[in-house]
């Protein structure tokens, strides 16, 4: 009986831990994506680029996010035909470019604050 409870409790803890980690990662995705799009990239190359930097993002999260950032005016995109097929390239818009240094500054602030706290 006790063992059952412990197992259950552990499962719960793991689940909560995963949820918190997911939330933490979700917070940095926008900044990570924006910082990778100083030069234009198409969706799949961006996902690989982020993976190489150590950030694995689910495709179902990244592609809709790119569209949302574009509709918010932070990115712009254009279709280009390469190797006989169309690819959509994304790049920072002027607004996004102006915003990025401020976001980086904010991020540095958060990191140093958290370092002091932890």
């Amino acid at each position: 009986m006790i063992q059952y409870n412990t197992v259950n409790g552990e499962a719960m803890t793991n689940e909560s831990l995963e949820n918190v980690i997911l939330e933490l990662r979700r917070g940095v995705i926008v900044l990570a994506v924006l910082s990778c799009l100083g030069e234009e990239q198409y969706g799949y190359s961006l996902i690989n680029d982020l993976k190489e930097h150590g950030l694995e993002i689910d495709q179902g999260t990244l592609y809709p996010l790119l569209r949302r950032l574009e509709s918010q005016g932070l990115l712009q995109s254009n279709w280009r035909i390469e190797a006989d097929r169309p690819r959509r390239y994304y790049i920072l818009s002027d607004e996004g470019r102006a915003l990025l240094p401020r976001l980086k500054e904010e991020w540095t602030g958060i990191v140093s604050m958290m370092k002091k706290m932890l």
Binding site: Y42, G43, G60, Y63, P64, Q72, W79, R87, R88
Partner: protein
């Protein structure tokens, strides 16, 4: 074959997307899938085949889930309106229940009750109750869904730029919305219940509006069956019911918006005045139009057996209906004056701290 699979997959995602963005998203997914296939083919040194396509599609995910990621969260009735929706639903279901019970009472009262038809009456009442619950639920959900849609359209900016920029809440606004701008909760809920009851009664249970002139015959004969029940309202009255229903429905919508806002503003006041004026006009037209009372001196004389008493009763009835209409015109006009007064004259009422006794 693999192209066919991709086509099918992409169109499966596409048909779950809004028409406006469908083609664009479909093209993007197709392009990404081809990138994935290319990479896989290079890594394994094999040409793209059906098996590889199936693997890639499996890793991309269920079309339904993929489509959902592009849509964001959508609500028929969102979290902002949900508490008020539940409150209105509870009140209205309670009122419908009470009305159904009254309807059952009247039905029992109008028929000779034997065990067989008592059972039939109850079954019919339950069926009617079920039908009116469905209508009521449908109408309330519809009203709230329209409100949700309107709110979504009006407040589309909430979603943008990372953190939602909500209007800063100032605790001092609490004192500003004290009388006369504050919406009176009890009064407003009462109005919602009243309008709703009127909608249900006049549209679904018009037969319960009537009267019986000879109730004491029950005591004499000991049977409910001896009662003659006269429906009070004529066909002429029911011509106005759709118009009145529109006014009542709009009044309910306005009341819900007011409950949600918590205070009156100019737009709400203009709408309220508009509704009241329409209500007054309908009452005035009803007053000048054909008779709203279905009972005539002849039918009543036949039932009572006394022409004099029937005449007096009919006169009283007509006067009663006129009185109700005049009252609604006068009270409606007073309401309009009160609303205008509060908007223009009493705008800057200071917050008064009650004196200590």
């Amino acid at each position: 074959m693999s192209t066919n699979l991709i086509d099918t997959y992409v169109s499966e995602v596409g048909r779950r997307l809004p028409r406006k963005t469908r083609t664009d998203i479909e093209a993007e997914i197709r392009s990404i899938l081809q990138d994935m296939l290319d990479e896989r083919s290079q890594k394994t040194g094999k040409p793209v085949d059906e098996e590889m396509t199936l693997e890639v599609l499996k890793s991309y995910g269920d079309p339904e889930k993929v489509a959902a990621t592009y849509q964001g969260e959508r609500y028929l009735i969102g979290p902002r309106l949900y508490p008020i929706f539940m409150m209105v639903l509870r009140i209205v279901l309670l009122v419908t229940g009470i009305l159904a019970a009254i309807g059952l009472g009247v039905a029992a009262y109008q028929t000779t009750l034997t065990p067989l038809n008592a059972f039939e009456t109850i079954i019919k009442a339950i069926a009617n109750f079920g039908a009116s619950i469905m209508t009521v639920l449908g109408n309330i959900v519809l009203i709230f869904a329209i409100l949700e849609w309107a709110l979504f359209r009006a407040g589309g900016k909430v979603e943008v730029k990372g953190l939602p920029k909500e209007k800063e809440w100032d605790p001092r606004s609490l004192s500003k919305v004290s009388s006369p701008n504050q919406v009176k909760m009890g009064e407003t809920i009462l109005e919602i219940v009243g309008c709703f009851a009127a909608i249900v009664v006049f549209n679904f249970y018009p037969q319960i509006i009537g009267f019986t002139p000879n109730l004491n015959s029950v005591v004499e004969s000991g049977s409910w069956a001896s009662i003659t029940f006269f429906p009070l309202l004529s066909e002429a009255f029911f011509i106005y019911v759709p118009f009145l229903t529109i006014v009542w429905v709009l009044t309910i919508i306005l009341d819900i918006v007011l409950l949600r806002m918590g205070h009156w503003n100019t737009v709400a006041r203009i709408n309220s005045i508009g509704l009241k004026v329409v209500g007054i006009l309908i009452a005035a037209i009803m007053l000048s139009g054909p008779s709203l009372v279905a009972v005539t001196t002849e039918t009543l004389t036949a039932s009572l057996g006394d022409a004099g008493a029937a005449q007096i009763l009919i006169k009283l009835l007509f006067q009663f209906v006129h009185l109700v209409l005049w009252l609604s015109i006068i009270l409606g006009s007073l309401d309009v004056i009160r609303i205008i007064y509060r908007q223009f004259v009493n705008k800057e009422t200071p917050f008064v701290v009650p004196e200590k006794k």
